[in-house]
């Protein structure tokens, strides 16, 4: 028996072609699952009235640096245009969206809602489903400052994770202005503020204690700083936070969270939300609520977003804005960890034998009905086609020669009429899922 494997696998092995660190090929299951996640999200975003924006893959580095902090800027891939101008690959999609709206669509009616999907590029150590080129699908709601807009985006985040089939996720909700308010009262210089930011980001009890004693903090300031890491959970967080709030900035941050929670309750998503006032993670440009989505089975956030009211203004007419992005590579990891049924990526039927007009007509009918069909050429025997089908997990095999039409479904022989056999095969395909 001639076996396709013996034909293709030989002693000759082509030399490996290396890929740059953190750059990956996506094929088979991985590619199908990524597109599946993308199309699921695309559909959810459309239903919420968001329209697609396809940002350029690269633009001026200076533009992409607007409103971002040093970390994201250091992570940008930069290169020169022919005229010597510095270009960069987009490190996220929010900045191009802010540029689009601030500088081009500023005189169109607001609010405006956009979604995007595609790869972004960051020079970073690849960790937990975040290679250097990774895929995002996200939304931005521009021109609405209300807590209702914050809640809409949170509810859309919940709907997205639910539609992806991710079970038992949590959204962790913070408020950047609470931290900003704390900084106002502490009157730290930028270097010290950065140290505090980093300590809070890691909920580092050791560092916070050290900072309190290094800066000689006493009374309410000391209490606020040391209490902050405990201000998280689902119950009583806002009440506890109100007690340590030092100024109006902090108080109005809490007022905003209260309002967002109220609307979130109307959407029926309040029980998926954990508050965390020490959450200072995220982009430098965030000004109000910030949030991250965590799912069981994945040690890192699958979704992150927040309000950025000053970014659009950096490109033109100011507009408040809020949005989030889901990292598709991490959705794939979460699916895998949660044991989600893998996306079927292989063809469903392979047809071999003598390719007559009659056979090809049946093949066309199958394809028109949405069945994924491939033809196998040059096989002398049905066995060759069957072993090819087995290797590629193709359930259906049809062998046509002069005498008869033979068929197998999932390895078992099935009878087929010699004419109009496509209907029969369609029945088998429909009998299984997808």
């Amino acid at each position: 028996m001639s076996d396709w494997r013996r034909q293709t696998v030989s002693n000759h092995r082509p030399p490996g072609r290396p890929l740059p660190h953190g750059v990956i090929d996506r094929f088979w299951q991985e590619a199908a699952a990524l597109r599946e996640a993308e199309s699921v999200l695309r559909e959810v975003y459309r239903r919420w009235g968001y329209t697609e924006y396809i940002p350029p893959t690269f633009e001026y580095a200076e533009t992409l640096s607007t409103g971002t902090g040093a970390p994201l800027q250091e992570q940008m891939y930069r290169f020169f245009d022919r005229d010597g101008k510095v270009l960069a690959l987009r490190p996220d999609m929010t900045i191009p969206t802010a540029r689009l709206v601030g500088s081009k669509l500023f005189d169109q009616p607001f609010p405006q809602r956009y979604f995007y999907t595609g790869p972004v590029f960051r020079y970073q150590e690849p960790v937990a489903g975040m290679p250097r080129e990774f895929y995002q699908a996200g939304v931005e709601l521009l021109g609405a400052a209300d807590p209702e807009a914050d809640a809409e985006v949170l509810a859309l985040a919940v709907a997205s994770l639910q539609t992806l089939g991710l079970a038992r996720f949590r959204l962790v909700l913070g408020q950047m202005a609470f931290f900003r308010g704390l900084l106002e009262s502490l009157q730290l210089d930028p270097a010290d503020a950065a140290v505090l930011h980093s300590a809070l980001d890691r909920k580092s009890a050791p560092e916070l204690q050290e900072l309190v004693s290094r800066w000689g903090l006493r009374g309410r300031l000391r209490e606020a700083l040391l209490t902050l890491p405990q201000l998280h959970g689902t119950q009583g967080v806002l009440a506890a936070a109100t007690k340590v709030a030092l100024n109006d900035t902090m108080r109005s941050a809490l007022e905003n969270l209260r309002a967002v929670e109220r609307v979130a309750a109307l959407y029926g998503i309040k029980e998926m939300i954990t508050l965390d006032l020490a959450e200072v993670r995220g982009m430098e440009y965030y000004t109000g609520i910030t949030f991250e989505g965590f799912v069981p089975g994945l040690g890192v956030a699958v979704l992150s977003g927040g309000r950025y009211d000053h970014l659009v203004g950096a490109f033109g007419r100011p507009q408040p804005a809020v949005g989030f992005a889901i990292t598709l590579d991490r959705v794939l990891r979460a699916w895998e960890a949660q044991g989600t049924q893998p996306v079927v990526w292989s063809p469903q039927v392979v047809v071999g034998g003598e390719l007559t007009r009659k056979t090809l007509t049946e093949v066309r009918r199958l394809r028109e009905a949405g069945v994924r069909v491939v033809c196998y050429y040059e096989a002398e025997q049905a066995e060759v086609v069957r072993s090819y089908a087995m290797a590629w997990h193709i359930p259906g095999v049809v062998w046509c020669d002069r005498e008869a039409v033979l068929a197998w479904w999932e390895g078992h022989a099935r009878a087929l009429p010699s004419e109009a056999w496509a209907d029969e095969v369609m029945g088998w395909v429909c009998g299984t899922s997808r």
Binding site: A128, S204, P229, T234, L298, G299, V300
Partner: protein, 220 residues
């Protein structure tokens, strides 16, 4: 792919470091009632705790934050020296009262005067197990060191002429003295710290909080 075996249920997995901190870490969890007093032999790497839903695993110290960052362990015990040497995206909610030591710069006794001002040496050769912390320390002083990464017996470096200075952990200072070295700067005061995975901290919030409180009581 570290995320594959993340415990999906409510089990809390705690990573403990082999070696220097191991005995104290075990004692802490025994005191908190989370680990049986007669723990398994040290070759067992993964074993259940004193109560259902808690499990322990034993790892090389430098691997503890890796396990926790990827979520295969929810909590971990690690020295600040190891934690700061790498860049790990984990929470560090609690200091633990053991494993005290310092990461220091030490030089041969006869060169103490020469190294009185580190910044006067344009390109010192630095032997260390902590290349990142050592580099950052010298860079902050405008000095470009030549880092010589070693994985043990760092004190040997200056003796055999491999390095001018060393950056290493100092507990009592005895090893340094015995090798004719003198501590000239402290880079970091280290001790054990409890770390937590960012996702576990939310998804298993109640259990993590309960364990933190029990440890807090055991420490007092």
């Amino acid at each position: 792919m570290g995320v594959r075996n993340v415990s999906i249920g409510e089990e809390i997995r705690i990573a403990l470091p082999k070696g220097r901190l191991e005995a104290d870490a075990r004692a802490l969890f025994v005191a908190a009632g989370l680990m049986a007093e007669n723990g398994p032999a040290s070759r067992v790497l993964l074993w259940p705790g004193q109560e259902p839903g808690v499990a322990f695993l034993l790892a090389k110290p430098a691997d503890v934050p890796v396990y926790v960052e990827h979520g295969v362990a929810d909590l971990g015990v690690v020295g600040l020296d190891v934690l700061r040497e790498g860049q790990y995206d984990v929470y560090e909610p609690m200091l633990l009262p053991f494993g005290h030591c310092r990461l220091s710069v030490a030089v041969p006794k006869d060169k103490v005067n020469t190294y009185h001002s580190l910044r006067l040496h344009p390109n010192p050769r630095v032997a260390t197990k902590y290349p990142n912390l050592a580099r950052a320390f010298f860079h902050a002083r405008g000095v470009s060191p030549e880092i010589i990464p070693l994985s043990g017996s760092v004190e040997l470096g200056p003796l055999v002429g491999l390095a001018d200075v060393i950056v290493d952990l100092v507990q009592t200072g005895r090893t340094l003295r015995e090798n004719g070295l003198v501590e000239v700067r402290v880079i970091l005061h280290s001790q054990a710290v409890l770390i937590a995975n960012r996702a576990s901290y939310r998804l298993k919030e109640a259990r993590v909080k309960a364990i933190l409180e029990r440890l807090q009581r055991a420490v007092k």
